[in-house]
Symmetry: C2
Subunit: 341 residues, 2 copies
DNA sequence: GTGAAAGCGCTAACAG
DNA sequence: CTGTTAGCGCTTTCAC
């Protein structure tokens, strides 16, 4: 069933059918209705490939993420997909893994498929070494590239993110002012946002610095291996490092810290405090429930799509947008001490 | 940059360029190399839309799932995407929500986009009332439809699933033989697989039935609202129903049961047992760690894709494949009592 | 308001 | 081995 069949049955030319299909107003109501009826009764749908070939777009956006089964990225993908669909765009999902090589290859694939734009969900796509980001700049030479929770300055690249640095800074300050000074920063990524979070922690620890320097630990195992994370913290403890608070770069790490504290016999939050990041479902699954930083993922995603659509329409859009996070207080932190001087 | 430009620069016809592009062996090595060089140096990529129009396929599979941010579905989507990509297929993701209306609409959308096949991830796509499944049968009239964890018998519809009934039956039997008889089955979906799980529970409770009938509770709130689930269990308790074991239809519900038990002051597993379903990350996040049924999602997904690819190649494939689940023992259940008669 | 016709870029049958 | 050519189904000028 093609546009020709319809035009024939309706006794009009294919141009007219095309016009009603595309809602042109240069068609008489009578003709339009006739064509519409035929289309309806034949159950005809235009061939998307032919349309794509002519218009040079199939209204499809590529979504790249390292691992869509990651709790946080899964949420991001979901919000992005929903938002895109609301505006008539489809989502081509591409789970790239964490290696540069495969990210670059995935990008090429998406370009080959002629998506209208590409979204890199997660800060792991931006590297420290400039040449490692070339795949982004090159893609941006052809289609707009949107970065979620990362920043990279290049033409046609747009970044939307949460102010991770400030969020962690504030979280750290609050933990300190609740009486915990020996805080361990526990993280697992030195990505763009990973670095920002760390710097927030360090900045907070430098205000009236304690005798010993700030404590930081990098965990480099699987994102889901809670046992390995607990083991890591135990090893730190066994090394003789004392800490009674953990600020974690994500809720998984934080949950591991809570389990670690429980195993060590600390009472939470009286003797041990924990703050996570992402305010994911894990925060509520945790026992006691986790205090966590909410980075307003849904808002970020909505804004990201709005920006992308603007760019696609040829509008001038902000290259970088930053939202503030919010500390959601739950059971793993104490209230701040009110100072009496 | 088109195939014409390349053919011109290489001094050959477009047919020849097309041949080297598609790896035909009816090209002399010299010509092939020359063309390849030009292609390389021009950075030419074939236009996927034109290709799609000619071949009537863009090697794309639609993945429908109610909510890709759901822990379990996210994993499924991930495995499916990885597997598809390995075979050169792209994934068009479509989060449909849980209403029939929108599922049907999403299906139409994917058909319009001319995907080569569609995968329905999750048992919620198959309804009890036959007419509600018409959207599946109609889609299957045009492209193969794959069901993950559901079954529906119609031409060109293929089902791959876990034997939920047996898994729950065995889990229930094991909990009973560990000494807990007042078991509550806690579930939140009366989908195909939901029903199968329930029937497994009921079957197990009918073997040497207890005085009071089997306990079942349907929770109809959000998948992520642990508090509401706990509240539900408390309400059951307050109603005067006594239960010291919970078998849950997913790990979220099970985790809520563990929290409920903790709040009620039961010692786990001595006085209260819990078994979850999916063996998701939550099982390890839980305190104590959750005994859970693993339904081998990765295996299911691999098999699903293998079947789909077979169908696309025109091979005869099994309409229904069933795998066995496995009970993963952790901290919320006691070992079975060894019987001494 | 409507129709004719020229692409869009590629594949594949056919001819040489 | 290589070239010619006819589609694939739709959009969009340009006439009328």
């Amino acid at each position: 069933m093609t546009i020709y069949d319809i035009s024939e049955k309706a006794g009009v030319s294919i141009a007219t059918v095309s016009r009603v299909l595309n809602g042109s107003d240069r068609v008489s109501d009578r003709t339009r209705q006739k064509v519409l009826d035929i289309i309806q009764q034949c159950g005809y749908t235009p061939n998307a490939f032919a349309r794509g070939l002519g218009l040079n777009t199939m209204k499809t956006i590529g979504i790249m993420c390292a691992d869509s089964s990651d709790l946080y990225l899964a949420k991001a993908v979901y919000y992005i997909e929903q938002e895109l669909r609301a505006y008539g765009y489809d989502s081509l999902l591409c789970c790239t893994g964490y290696e540069l090589e495969s990210k670059s290859a995935s990008m090429d694939l998406l370009l080959t498929k002629k998506v209208d734009g590409v979204i890199l969900a997660g800060s792991n796509f931006v590297y420290e070494r400039e040449p490692d980001n070339r795949y982004i700049a090159e893609a941006a030479a052809r289609i707009p590239v949107m970065l979620l929770n990362a920043a990279f300055d290049a033409p046609n690249v747009y970044s939307v993110m949460s102010d991770d640095c400030k969020s962690v800074y504030e979280a750290t300050m609050q933990m300190r002012s609740s009486g915990t000074e020996d805080i361990l920063y526990f993280y697992n990524a030195d990505s763009y946002s990973g670095k920002r979070k760390l710097s927030g922690f360090l900045a907070a620890m430098e205000e009236a610095p304690a005798a010993s320097g700030p404590l930081t630990e990098f965990y480099h195992g699987s994102h889901e291996d809670i046992h390995a994370m607990i083991g890591h913290l135990k090893a730190v403890h066994d090394r003789g490092v004392a800490f009674h608070g953990v600020i974690a770069a994500d809720d998984n790490l934080a949950l591991a810290a809570v389990k670690y504290a429980a195993e060590m016999g600390y009472r939470i939050p009286q003797e041990f405090s924990v703050i996570g990041y992402n305010n994911s479902m894990l925060a509520i699954c945790c026992q006691p429930e986790l205090t966590s930083i909410d980075n307003r993922l849904e808002t970020l995603c909505q804004h990201l799509i709005a920006t992308l659509l603007g760019v696609l329409e040829g509008k001038e859009m902000p290259k970088r947008t930053v939202f503030s996070g919010e500390l959601v207080q739950r059971g793993t932190t104490r209230p701040e001490l009110t100072r009496t001087e």
